[in-house]
């Protein structure tokens, strides 16, 4: 299954991936409106570890044996058997944040907009190619199948 891999050799910690992640999960899909108009502001589903010498962007690994799915009390968090994507069904989510605690990568974030739900990377399921990969200015993000299971 194709996943997003970050190459810490090239990540500059610039934060453009966050900008485009928010935009692709916004109502208007317009970068300026998403950031200046929409209220609540869309939330990015990755975070960037920055350091002196090394940075990298971290998002959901869409694990084979997802801890968040196990932890979910309502069954909202599911792994789609066909695509392999781990997605949160927001109608059923009650915002208990158990998945946030359970994820070993800290890849789930709290979306405290109109309804409190857990938000996570969905590999831009609707867009085709993940927006963070597309817009990384230094080729630090790759969308490929490395045959790994997690």
């Amino acid at each position: 299954m194709k996943k997003v891999y970050a190459d810490e050799k090239w990540c500059l910690g610039c934060g453009l991936c966050k900008v485009y992640c928010r935009t692709s999960h916004s109502q208007t899909l317009d970068i300026i409106k998403a950031h200046k108009l929409e209220s609540p502001r869309p939330v990015e589903r990755l975070h960037i570890e920055t350091g002196d010498k090394v940075n990298f962007a971290l998002q959901c690994r869409h694990c084979d044996d997802p801890k968040c799915v196990q932890a979910c009390i309502t069954g909202a968090m599911q792994k789609d058997p066909e695509t392999g994507l781990v997605l949160n069904e927001t109608e059923r989510c009650v915002g208990c944040w158990t998945c946030v605690l359970a994820c070993p990568f800290g890849a789930i974030v709290r979306d405290e907009g109109s309804k409190k739900v857990a938000a996570k990377c969905d590999l831009c399921a609707a867009m085709g190619e993940p927006e963070c990969v597309k817009h990384c200015p230094n080729n630090a993000l790759k969308y490929e199948d490395r045959g790994e299971s997690l």
């Binding site: 050799k9 090239w10 500059l12 610039c14 934060g15 970068i31 010498k53 817009h135």
Partner: protein, 501 residues
């Protein structure tokens, strides 16, 4: 001194309607121009630090930024221009030599733009490069005056060592130190992929690049940085750097800030020390001394590699070139006054040396008059900006062109001319790890390959248009050029006619 007589060169304009406060500009500016003001929640800019490198402009996701030349004006004065006044203020404040990077930006005449190329019609058909072979390969090196065959047609003459290029282009000398390790990797990989060469410059060669040796020109400059037996034998060609177009008469300069661990190892000098190359080679005070060095290098490499001598284009370039050919060099590289550099005193860069177009024409003509043109190949540099410049250079008599600034522009340089600060935001002219990282060699290699391929196709088109299908038929073919708006003296030096003749 606290009174600033000058003012910022540039203004940073931010469209507040577009700015989304993503702070990418702040994170990406090594000069620390941008920052998020925590009180107002808006981005602010300290334009005094801006060098107009466009990193923030290029990365801003909403294109909210624009850098403009500060239009604050002195009273209009055609003699005392804004720059000439501000430069005096700067020197009065610091007592220093003004430094700059890249090539001469002054509005001296550009002869490439005053020469036009021929095309064949009617009496001579043009050739279609998409359907017919179009040969752009060249061989650099000394050639014998004639070839001898035995009575069965077998070749008897032994050829001196030659460099084969797929197109008449090579990447110019840019030292490791003046540019980053990643930039060098991109140049080396692109040269290998394209079938051309790149030049180490005077910074020595890191061991990890020995694998590209077949596509490397190793330079021996006046500081002799990094010169040892293995270094010499790794390259495909050796180059003695006597001078460079950006600063004729003085040696290279690498500020101590740019001498980190890797540079220190490659150059064999202590970390943090300024690397100032002497003006002359202290063992070359005359032409016979040069001959001695050329042959020392040939001995050291067992006469298996051609030796090139690089000079700056100065007033008596033809006589110097003639001497160099007779001293045993296989290739002469001439660098014109527009040549780029990582650091040079601004006054030397802007006022010393002559245009490469004139130097090339004069050297080629002089070597032919002395019947020794075949003894050396001529490579020219000093602002070759497009494939048209390459075609014109070959028509004037060059065998091949070096490209330096064009290569750096291809990988991201924005010609802000502050390379000497070591804070290149594009990861090119810097040694800071966090900045060098910004130049991904995979991306940069591809861009260099794209550039040279594009020029290759354009050269094919122009050759075919002239009715030529082999580039050696263009070399020295001055009748393929016409001048436009040149006076008789300029036409004479270039050896071309005026358009209409």
């Amino acid at each position: 001194m606290s009174l600033q007589l000058g003012w910022p060169d540039y203004l940073v304009e931010r469209d507040e309607n577009r700015c989304i406060q993503c702070e990418v500009c702040a994170k990406q500016c090594a000069n620390e121009v941008h920052k998020l003001d925590p009180d107002t929640g808006k981005m602010v800019a300290d334009e005094a630090k801006c060098v107009n490198c466009h990193r923030c402009v290029a990365l801003c996701p909403t294109r909210a930024l624009k850098i403009r030349v500060n239009d604050l004006e002195f009273k209009p004065n055609a003699n005392w221009t804004s720059n000439s006044i501000k430069e005096i203020y700067k020197q009065a404040a610091t007592g220093s030599v003004l430094l700059s990077g890249m090539g001469n930006p002054k509005p001296f005449p550009i002869y490439w733009d005053k020469m036009l190329i021929n095309a064949s019609q009617v009496t001579n058909p043009s050739i279609d490069p998409l359907r017919e072979p179009m040969e752009t390969g060249v061989m650099l090196g000394r050639k014998p005056a004639k070839l001898e065959f035995d009575k069965n047609g077998k070749l008897l003459t032994k050829m001196p060592p030659q460099i084969k290029l797929s197109v008449p282009l090579m990447f110019s000398a840019m030292s490791f130190g003046s540019i980053s390790r990643n930039a060098h990797e991109a140049l080396a990989r692109a040269a290998t992929e394209l079938g051309i060469l790149y030049n180490t410059g005077e910074g020595g060669l890191a061991k990890e690049f020995y694998q590209y040796g077949q596509n490397t020109i190793v330079q021996v400059a006046s500081g002799r940085f990094g010169v040892h037996a293995e270094y010499l034998n790794t390259g495909a060609m050796l180059e003695i750097k006597i001078g460079q177009g950006a600063k004729p008469g003085i040696g290279g300069h690498l500020p101590g800030e740019k001498v980190g661990e890797q540079v220190s190892m490659a150059r064999m000098i202590p970390q943090g020390s300024d690397a100032i190359s002497p003006a002359p080679h202290h063992d070359i005070y005359s032409i016979e001394d040069l001959r001695q060095l050329i042959y020392s290098l040939k001995e050291a490499t067992n006469y298996t590699k051609p030796v090139s001598v690089k000079i700056a284009a100065v007033h008596n370039a033809p006589a110097i070139a003639s001497g160099i050919a007779r001293a045993g060099a296989d290739v002469i590289a001439i660098d014109g006054f527009r040549g780029g550099t990582g650091a040079a005193p601004q006054r030397v860069r802007d006022n010393v040396g002559i245009p490469i177009e004139l130097a090339l024409a004069a050297v080629d003509q002089r070597l032919r008059e002395e019947s020794i043109r075949h003894e050396v190949s001529l490579v020219v540099a000093g602002s070759i900006r497009s494939s048209a410049d390459v075609v014109k250079a070959i028509a004037l008599g060059a065998d091949a062109c070096y490209i330096g600034s064009s290569a750096l522009l291809a990988i991201g340089c924005h010609m802000c001319q502050t390379c000497y600060t070591g804070k290149c935001n594009w990861g090119i002219a810097t040694q800071r790890d966090d900045l060098v990282k910004r130049l991904n060699p995979d991306v940069a290699t591809q861009r260099l390959v794209n550039l040279v391929n594009a020029w290759h196709h354009e050269i094919d088109e122009m050759l075919g248009g002239m009715g030529i299908n082999a580039i050696e038929s263009l070399r020295g073919n001055r009748l393929m050029l016409r001048g436009l708006g040149l006076n008789q003296k300029e036409l004479d030096v270039l050896g071309i006619k005026h358009a209409g003749e």
